[in-house]
Amino acid sequence: MILIVDAHNRHHHHSVLDEMFQLRARVFGDRLGWDVRIEDGREIDEFDALDPAYVIGLDDAFNVVACVRALQTTGPHMLADVFADILQGEAPLRSATLWESTRFCVDTERLAMVGRGPGSVSRATCELMVGSLEYARSNGITDIITVIDPVMNRVLKRSDNAPYDYVGATVQMGETKAMAALLDCTEERIARVRAFAGIEGPVFVDEGAMMAARLRQAAHGDSLTDYLIDQIDAATNPDELEAALALVDAVLGPQRGATGEAQHSEHTPDFVR
């Protein structure tokens, strides 16, 4: 399942984001050896402060198993500002209908490396791709430029989702290499990836149900928590949901990790998808 988190709902998803930043630390810091800054087991950079949109893959138990970060190429983004090596000093592409995706990663430790069924790396990758492409497409975006390593590039090629081209050069980055690939957000590509991985129906998660389930998992089965979950379930409009979640925060303490997430927890309106 896919969850989209951006500036408007991130105050509801501190624990999901915290898991995501830990996954990024394991993948980009430990496994790929990229030159990323890791603090307290979380990889967070300056682009995370720019209100990006995160496309997050969750398994059946709502654990984070994959993620990617989207930014407009019209504004500050990584290829323009920090991946200059890849572009070999050239100016970056800048287009209203082109989004940049970075920090694309999948939890290869939690998932099975073989096969393409549920619970496999291949399935999680494809679902994340479908979620990203569909989210971009629903915004009128026609193409995505994505910074990936050669392993992810092979995974894309193998899953009938090969980039149609690359920009700049493949350059050494830490222990592995990085490249910028172009993907079109066409219905044809989405259909191909869905067919390859056997993904049918909507990939996006029901946000309310997901939050209640994660709360239930973290709870100790006491009646107070049950009451709070009931309040979330009973919410029929965004204002009521906001009130229910504020109550959760007030009673249980903010559901956030130790990553400085608190600074983002001001009550911006929640735009439930």
Partner: protein, 234 residues
């Protein structure tokens, strides 16, 4: 901060920026467009709308720009903001109950634009079509509206003196050589063959080059690129 109304400012061509919005509305079958931009370089807020004057002054008198959920949402959003998702919020009801009295539809969406220097634009489009018709138009025109929103934002931002210098278009070698071949009369397909790249790659670079040059069409982009001596006249 009180927004600066740029509606009467001239656009690049013959009319005003508000008239430019009228033309965009006519092109896509929209009622109104409201643009709000934040220039972080010279710290100013700009507004251009083609709403009826009565609603425009009521909106500013009530200070609705401070609570308008479409603006607040879009200012921190990557994706577009569908008004349908905001309808249940109190702030939306307050602003749009008033809007309805002035005959403004509550069907629409806001496209967030981000510029390279932290500048932001919020481009709201209003439609009075039926829900079904709106969904169809939306699908058909969304990519084009994304582009219109960015071009409009860049145009407004370029008016700031400090931005004028910073927003000089920087084309990559690939963008430049594609424009050069187009100027030489080659089709996009031809250019792909000449450079051994896919037509889609030609298209994505060309689109980027057009937008950097503030051009709606490829011929316009070629003309501007020659004018700026980025490519050679042939």
């Amino acid at each position: 901060m009180k927004p600066l109304d740029l509606g009467a400012e001239p656009d690049d061509g013959s009319g005003t920026l508000a008239e430019l919005l009228d033309r965009i509305c006519a092109r896509y079958g929209l009622d109104y467009i409201a643009y709000a931009g934040i220039n972080t370089v010279d710290d100013s807020i700009h507004g251009v709308v083609n709403y009826p004057d009565a609603w425009k002054s009521h909106y500013v008198e009530q200070g609705y720009q401070l609570i308008d959920p479409t603006l607040i949402a879009a200012s921190r959003s990557v994706g577009l903001v569908e008004w349908g998702r905001l309808r249940d919020f109190d702030s939306f009801r307050r602003v749009f109950r008033d809007a309805a009295e002035f005959g403004i539809s509550t069907t629409g969406l806001t496209i967030p634009v981000r510029g390279p220097f932290g500048d932001k634009g919020m481009f709201s489009v209003v439609s009075s079509h039926t829900e079904e018709e709106w969904q169809r138009l939306r699908r058909e025109f969304l990519s084009a509206l994304q582009t219109e929103a960015t071009l409009f934002h860049d145009r407004v931002m370029r008016e700031g003196r400090s931005m004028k210098i910073m927003l000089q278009p920087t084309l990559s070698e690939r963008e430049r050589e594609i424009l050069q071949w187009i100027a030489a009369g080659k089709s996009q397909f031809d250019v792909g063959v000449i450079l051994s790249i896919s037509t889609r790659t030609v298209e994505v670079h060309l689109r980027s080059a057009r937008e950097k040059l503030g051009a709606m069409t490829t011929p316009q982009a070629v003309a501007r690129a020659i004018g700026m001596r980025l490519i050679y006249p042939i």
